[in-house]
Symmetry: C2
Subunit: 351 residues, 2 copies
DNA sequence: CTGAAAGCGCTTACAG
DNA sequence: CTGAAAGCGCTTACAG
């Protein structure tokens, strides 16, 4: 009677067959079922038995319980992915690349949006670790990040993507920001610009810092000496933060003819400020972004920007991580992808 | 000697403590550790013992093995989310809403990009089920979807989001497409348009079909009788498919003054065709989109569109699903969210 | 209030 | 080539 009740209330669980069920149906022992269903051990069995087991499993619609297998093998074939903000359009292509590679190897991604708050990130990572992820991809790291310390101490295979940490203790996949900024500055210089400013990102992020340094280095190489008033740093990589910093930049350096921006979202913030002031782009000011995120070819004017191969970033990160998980490689590998300049309509010769 | 080797090669695993370790350190039995660490059963213990266990766990940095717990309790506190395309900007906000609600309840999302291919979707779902997800959110469903049949048969708690299936056998969270199209048509009619066409989506998706019906119904209510040449359907919800269908529409119905489009991505495709033909928007043609996806306020001209609360869609879907998982509710609930019209610069009085 | 035992569903040395 | 047993790390009736 009791059994019947259970049968009624959770039918789903009830209809889930186990190795035992398959074993009974095929007339073999459970261990034989396990061996028959695993391609790597199947050859140890007689073909006849293997076929019988596979048939029995198919007839029942048997789906192995991956949790039980993971508990036993100590591999979950699950990877945790920690993002600061999934609505930032650079992350979906990264995620797509990650997933494509992981899926090939039968891995699944547990994706967590952790924001920028450190405590929240810590909590999220602890939950992922509790679920026994085999490795972690972090897109959240700051240049000095206590969370990386913790992960290293815990011994979790770890790859950081898009951003790297200052000490490079951990494998990373990033874009060559120095080259990116050089392309941007060269482009404006080539158009005739000599008063070029930089709308930068947060300096606690490798992208913010690297792009500022890239800008300064490229500017100096052209004999330009950007005064400190030609530089303004945003508090985050968002359109809103871009607006605020762009406002300050235009206040302090009204005679700029070109601005190299550390990120497309910031560039959109600059667009907002230009529109609010009735200034035209590229008429009054040429603007170069960074990322070539989706749809910046559709904004007005279409944004000249530095293209980063985000999908490839995700693919490489997944490959690095899987090698780490399998013990085929060690940490501390930095993959640096070459960006390109995409010239659109936001840049022109200076006024 | 052998032990030492193991100790060296997988340090991570080695340093993971278990209930046994905590039990030993606190001088209690493993079952007591379990009870002390679970807030729901803690009260059964003397405060002194509970405190001792909690302290011991903290000292060791003990993180419970969620897989083992799930195997035992038959709840994984994991939800599978199946998307057709994460790079479609409508999905990140949905995901954000889902995750926010799930995280509150200590659930984690396994996100899988399954594309539009049915076999691939089936594979992806099987993998998620093998990992014992407690429920599934599908953003992939077509109006008649064999995958839904399978899930129902398997007895998995299930919610569909953004799109619904024709039979409404499954709980869904969608936007009111009829109302959305009515807002769009009313807006153009109010501006003076009488030759209004529809650039529609695939009719095997509820959104494509519902928006076409909404368009026709609203048009008829104004006494308009859109000829079949005023309607053109795209093969998918992408900018590329939008371009192709927009090309056909402008060929067949060059005298239209306004077009209501089933989706912003399609509207961008229409923009592309207008640009290629040297036609201006809204000068030659007024355009209304659908979704208000991120950054359509930045395109040229800023797109008038029907705003869908995608984040809320995700939140509601998570809530529905959790109630289903807990047996607090039954399936077959349709949540319909009210959209709004956002008027920007792509619509004006007819030429 | 706490302990001892059983068992979730697998896999894998160990036999034979 | 196949079986029987042990065990992954938890939780939860069942005792007392």
């Amino acid at each position: 009677m009791k059994e019947l009740e259970i049968g009624c209330t959770n039918k789903a669980v009830n209809e889930r067959y186990t190795v035992q069920d398959v074993a009974k149906r095929a007339g073999v022992h459970a261990s034989t079922v396990s061996r028959a269903l695993n391609p790597a051990t199947r050859h140890r069995l007689s073909e006849e038995v293997a076929a019988r087991v596979i048939a029995a499993a198919a007839e029942l619609g048997y789906v192995p319980n991956g949790l039980a297998a993971s508990l036993r093998t100590r591999r979950s074939e699950t990877i945790g992915v920690v993002l600061p903000d999934i609505t930032n359009p650079v992350f979906p292509p990264i995620l797509q690349g990650l997933e494509a590679v992981l899926a090939e190897e039968r891995y699944v991604a547990m994706v967590a949006n952790a924001g920028s708050d450190n405590d929240r990130q810590r909590l999220v990572i602890e939950r992922l670790l509790a679920r026994q992820v085999d490795g972690l991809v972090l897109a959240t790291v700051t240049r000095h990040d206590a969370i990386v310390d913790q992960c290293l101490k815990a011994g979790v295979p770890l790859v950081v993507v898009n951003r790297s940490e200052a000490d490079h203790r951990v494998s990373s996949v990033v874009s060559d920001d120095l080259r990116g900024m050089r392309l941007a500055v060269d482009h404006l210089y080539g158009l005739g610009h000599r008063r070029i400013g930089h709308l930068g990102g947060p300096q606690n992020l490798s992208t913010g810092k690297g792009r500022l340094e890239g800008f300064l280095s490229a500017a100096r190489d052209h004999g330009l000496d950007p005064a400190s008033s030609d530089l303004e740093l945003a508090s985050g990589f968002s359109r809103e933060a871009g607006r605020e910093a762009a406002f300050r930049l235009l206040e302090h350096a009204p005679d700029l003819t070109g601005v190299v921006v550390a990120n497309d979202l910031l560039a959109l913030g600059l667009y907002d400020v230009l529109a609010a002031r009735g200034l035209s782009c590229p008429g009054h000011l040429s603007v170069v972004g960074h990322n070539d995120m989706p749809f910046v070819d559709m904004v007005s004017p279409p944004l000249t920007t530095v293209r980063i191969r985000h999908r490839e970033m995700g693919e490489q990160a997944a490959q690095l991580l899987l090698r780490l998980v399998r013990g085929e490689a060690q940490g501390g590998v930095d993959v640096v992808l070459k960006p390109d300049l995409v010239v659109r309509a936001s840049t022109a010769a200076p006024r």
